[in-house]
Symmetry: C2
Subunit: 657 residues, 2 copies
């Protein structure tokens, strides 16, 4: 490195630091601590290691970068700006302001160059693991001799907070087991967290811990030493394991309160800014970067753009020679033609078993479809039977074995989905969706189509008892914006749900399936699941008494109750509502066709929290739900004890106002 180069590097790091703290000053809000301490490592990574093209921020073979410590957004934005991404000085000035491109935490799909939404700690690490999984799989599946169309690294920058979160351990273990050698984590190790010195709450030895998870460990003693950081990154790239580089830093480096939690989340103030300028020998007006620094970045980026051009050439030949694979890589839908899937009306089959059939067909019809389970594949029925396990030595495998790590699984699935090129699902019991809820939320925020399969969807779980019987999980998932929750009534609705999920690319989907057998309903064949709800059994007369609304296993129960009521001369129509969210997005006209306002004698039936159903029944209606915990006994007995029998449903309908 020449002297001039070294000077430019230092000035560039200072530019990133100063822009970052100036953004925070301007908005009176943000986290200067990490901006000041992590700028050198982020700069070295971006400029001397990462491959990207600021003009093509979605290039599929770019190196991925996940700022797991999402509160360092100001640092990321300043680097994106300096590297020529579509982020102007005005955008930087609008940091954390309404509608700006520079929100408080990085938002995927909103700011060019942001590869994942982060902020909820630990999840960034999980997503980076998923991206590295996707890269390894796609490289094995798609690359051809001389045509490494997928060949990139995944980087993450994590802080102490990330590593304290339990999900970090799950991510470490998953990556270690799979030997994801192209995953490199920079650990901003500054010994301070929000509430004070790290020693108050942790004595974790990170080196020992990551080695225990079969990772390579590298250490940089001085987080301001670009050469040390650079060397560690080179060693990491040569390792045959995933690498964590512990970079020792001083939080808020250069600020008056450096080294303390006072500089973590509070702007440094005008005085602090003056001291920083002095310290870093920086004499520019606010938000001003010398042209020489801009030029330096441009030069570095020009080299990256050449790498992109080389890839484009390969890609052009690849598209010619392997048009199918090329199309597959760019596809984000999967299809399910159901010719081979037939269920006889009257037959009883658990929807988890139908889900199993559907998954086999989807896997057969879509080579880009894969997924796994949190050690419950055998119960969830989500093993792709014709495929092997994805493993360190078998990157072509399509069954992901996440272990009992629900949250880590879900974050990794989000990472796989973010990477692009495949569609992925993950499964566990519905009751354990509690463990991974934070990742469903992030998928919804990012508007990405991760698919979650949750089996054992009600009290019918039975013997395992209340810890394993979901009650409130459906309400929790349905109350979340931006996610569609499907609870199919039978085999036909299960198939239809998967068909809709395949075509859905702008949000995550959750499908919940039954443990117990459910009758196949003739009327549900090719059900309009995409509309969320429909009249499954119409009224017999022009003056029906009311409506039974149900989902999942309670739909056939509603049909039985309808028959019983019919014998008493009470005519009701039955509405199956497999997906509330989709129904609520339909036109008012459609909604009122399915639920005519004049029919306000309504009973909603679902073995779960009643909260979700009141909006459909109103004050004159009733909900037969479950607002207490279940009990341990054979499933049918539990169902009966909680009153989910045709007699009780019929009686309840008669009680509605």
């Amino acid at each position: 490195m020449s002297n001039q180069q070294a000077t430019l590097d230092q000035k560039s790091v200072t530019a990133a630091r100063m822009l970052g703290v100036e953004m925070i000053e301007a908005s009176h809000s943000g986290h200067p601590g990490i901006v000041l301490d992590a700028a050198p490592m982020a700069y070295t990574l971006f400029e001397y290691h990462m491959r990207f093209n600021p003009k093509q921020p979605k290039w599929i073979n770019r190196d991925r970068f996940v700022l797991s410590a999402g509160h360092g957004s100001a640092l990321l934005y300043s680097l994106l700006h300096l590297n020529g991404f579509d982020l102007t000085v005005d955008d930087l000035k609008a940091f954390r302001q309404m509608g700006s491109k520079t929100p408080g935490h990085p938002e995927y799909g909103w700011t060019p160059g942001v590869d994942a939404s982060t902020g909820p700690l630990g999840q960034g690490l999980g997503m980076a693991v998923g991206m590295a999984i996707a890269e390894k799989h796609l490289a094995a599946q798609c690359n051809r001799p001389g045509m490494p169309v997928i060949d990139h690294y995944t980087y993450a920058l994590a802080g102490d907070g990330d590593l304290m979160e339990g999900i970090s351990q799950e991510a470490l273990d998953i990556a270690g087991n799979l030997q994801l050698n192209k995953l490199i984590v920079l650990y901003d190790s500054n010994d301070v967290s929000l509430d004070g010195p790290l020693s108050m709450s942790t004595h974790d030895n990170v080196e020992q811990r990551v080695k225990a998870a079969s990772w390579n460990y590298e250490r940089v003693e001085d987080g301001n030493d670009l050469a040390q950081i650079d060397a560690a990154l080179w060693r990491a790239k040569r390792s045959d394991k995933p690498t964590l580089i512990e970079v020792k830093t001083v939080i808020g480096y250069g600020a008056p309160k450096q080294g303390t939690n006072k500089v973590h989340g509070t702007p440094v103030g005008q005085d602090g800014l003056a001291i920083l300028k002095e310290k870093f020998d920086w004499h520019e007006p606010s938000f001003t970067v010398p042209q020489a620094v801009y030029d330096h970045f441009q030069e570095l980026v020009a080299a990256k753009e050449k790498q992109y051009q080389r890839w484009l050439e390969i890609w052009a030949s690849y598209q010619q020679q392997y048009p199918q694979l090329a199309a597959q890589l760019m596809n984000d839908e999967f299809k399910l033609s159901d010719d081979a899937l037939n269920y006889q009306p009257g037959e009883k089959i658990a929807t988890r078993l139908v889900c199993d059939d559907a998954l086999q067909e989807i896997a057969r019809q879509n080579p880009m479809f894969w997924g796994g389970a949190a050690d419950l594949a055998s119960s969830n029925k989500t093993l792709l039977k014709k495929d092997d396990n994805f493993a360190a030595d078998n990157p072509l495998g399509r069954n992901l074995r996440f272990g009992v790590r629900e949250f880590g699984m879900a974050a990794a699935l989000n990472g796989i989905t973010l990477h692009g090129g495949t569609r992925a699902f993950g499964s566990t019991f519905l009751v354990f969706s509690d463990y991974l809820k934070g990742a469903v939320r992030l998928a919804a925020l990012m508007k990405i189509p991760t698919a979650f399969v949750f089996s054992h969807d009600s009290l019918a779980v039975g013997e395992d008892g209340p810890t394993h019987e979901p009650v409130e999980q459906l309400a929790a998932l349905r109350s979340m914006p931006g996610v569609d929750v499907y609870r199919p009534a039978d085999a036909n609705e299960t198939i239809a749900s998967w068909q809709v999920i395949g075509k859905t690319t702008d949000r995550p989907s959750v499908i919940v399936t039954s443990r117990q057998g459910l009758p196949v309903l003739a009327a549900a064949k090719h059900a309009p699941v995409e509309r969320g709800a429909y009249i499954l059994a119409p009224a017999q007369t022009n003056h029906p008494a009311g409506i039974l609304i149900a989902s999942g296993s309670e739909v056939s129960l509603a049909l039985q109750a309808r028959e019983r009521l019919a014998k008493e001369g009470i005519d009701v129509q039955v509405v199956s509502m497999p997906c509330q969210e989709r129904f609520l997005r339909q036109s008012k006209q459609y909604q009122e066709m399915v639920l005519p306002p004049r029919l306000d004698k309504r009973l909603a039936i679902e073995m779960g929290s009643s909260m979700c159903w009141h909006r459909f029944v109103g004050l004159n209606g009733m909900v037969m739900g479950v607002d207490e915990f279940g009990t341990s006994a054979p499933g049918e007995q539990v169902i009966e004890k909680f009153g989910f029998t045709p007699e009780r449903v019929a009686a309840a309908f008669k009680q509605t106002a």
Copy 2:
């Protein structure tokens, strides 16, 4: 150990094994794998190490035992039976049957001798950590020379699944940091999980991992060797650190499919039972234990009962000499006299700051009250300012520093609460309640009064953006059975909420507080928060137009809208509903007094998922909620953007049917 003793020990272990598998056979449901492999370690622990009294299963100074691998319930029940707890052979025969004392997973408060409900993996470890924290604190706080009234160990039995869960890492770190040397975990290391060999999903080196967390590690090579297990337990007790004993076992030991996942969760069958009987030289009819074995257990328990008698003697003198401390140890309520807490109507103060004041007062008035945060004490405002940190070398401290470990914190809080002798709270941002939801659920299932404090309760979080702005979290928590969620409208309701929480001993409580200042409402002074909702501002006429219902920060908004409507001649009453759950438990009469059925023109207002409010407004009413994610901008601007202004509320009311 004499030969006779050794033979009796072996027979006793066999008795535990056989009862366990017979229970599973009888119910055709359960997990024989762990019963067969972990019986020797559980037996050695219970008989040769643990102090308990089967006649006094709630003895406060008993050693605690948490079966973190809760699917091993059959083993626990058989040991409890053999040790003379109130659990008959008939109870064992009714394993997993309706209403039996032997449900599918251990249930605290239901089966004598069960110290914690377990099943959702990993949480048992967290609860054991909490119990050990409570023991350490109470020993320091309450013991007096010659009177060690609190002096016991906490044991947990964990499996591979527990250790794969991220929460296990959080628990390890918390315990290691606090050097909880009286916490001992038996790790049933059988290399198999539900879906197959552990090697599919993990290469974690547990020894290295626990040492990284400052634990002592012991190893038993042969899980059938009682002497080895016994020796390891003795070494563990002498360590100055928490200890994990890795006991190598063969899953389903003795059964035809031993060593494979086929024996994890499927009964062994009559053939398997015959083979087991052969293998263990056991010739008893089903559910039959030789008298000699019962006698052996009785002898061992007699010695334990003597220990209990000695403690009783100490306790008697202690009660005389330190009546206050003794009463404190047996108390499970805390009080809050609010003489010192006065807020001026009109003044604006964030409820998180009022919560801060309340916590200082509660801590002053109740020495048994304590708590901590997941590294957000400074933001949640939950530091007990006159107290030190609870630390390895300062067990008297009352501020628990959990680090960024929400789930581990919540499970530990449950463990502290289960232990008894104190009341504990824990805090984080409302949006991160997602990370610990599973532990709130377990607290609700166990009916224990853990208190959760979640600040930053709405979009008003502002600049941090949608990842940090809760939307659906209130709905998720409210849909959960058995937990009361308080969202106080102002300072007065905040104080009243804490007073109610102090008196609540049969369920967990959640209190959510605002980041932003809220006007102090004169009419809310001594509000009847225990009733969940009340008329804060009555109608002015006998024919009001309708009702505005709100919680938290939206209550003062509703009052402003009411004024605005009044100017237009529209008379509405305002109902403040700080706790939906409590309101729903009131008499129909009270409910209809607050929400008269004839007034069906209703508008509910809350900056969160609308789902929770439809039950109160019906089809003729409306909910002003938030059913999309928030945005990053200053809080007041976000509030305005989402329409939470007096004008918009008034306009919305006029639009209701």
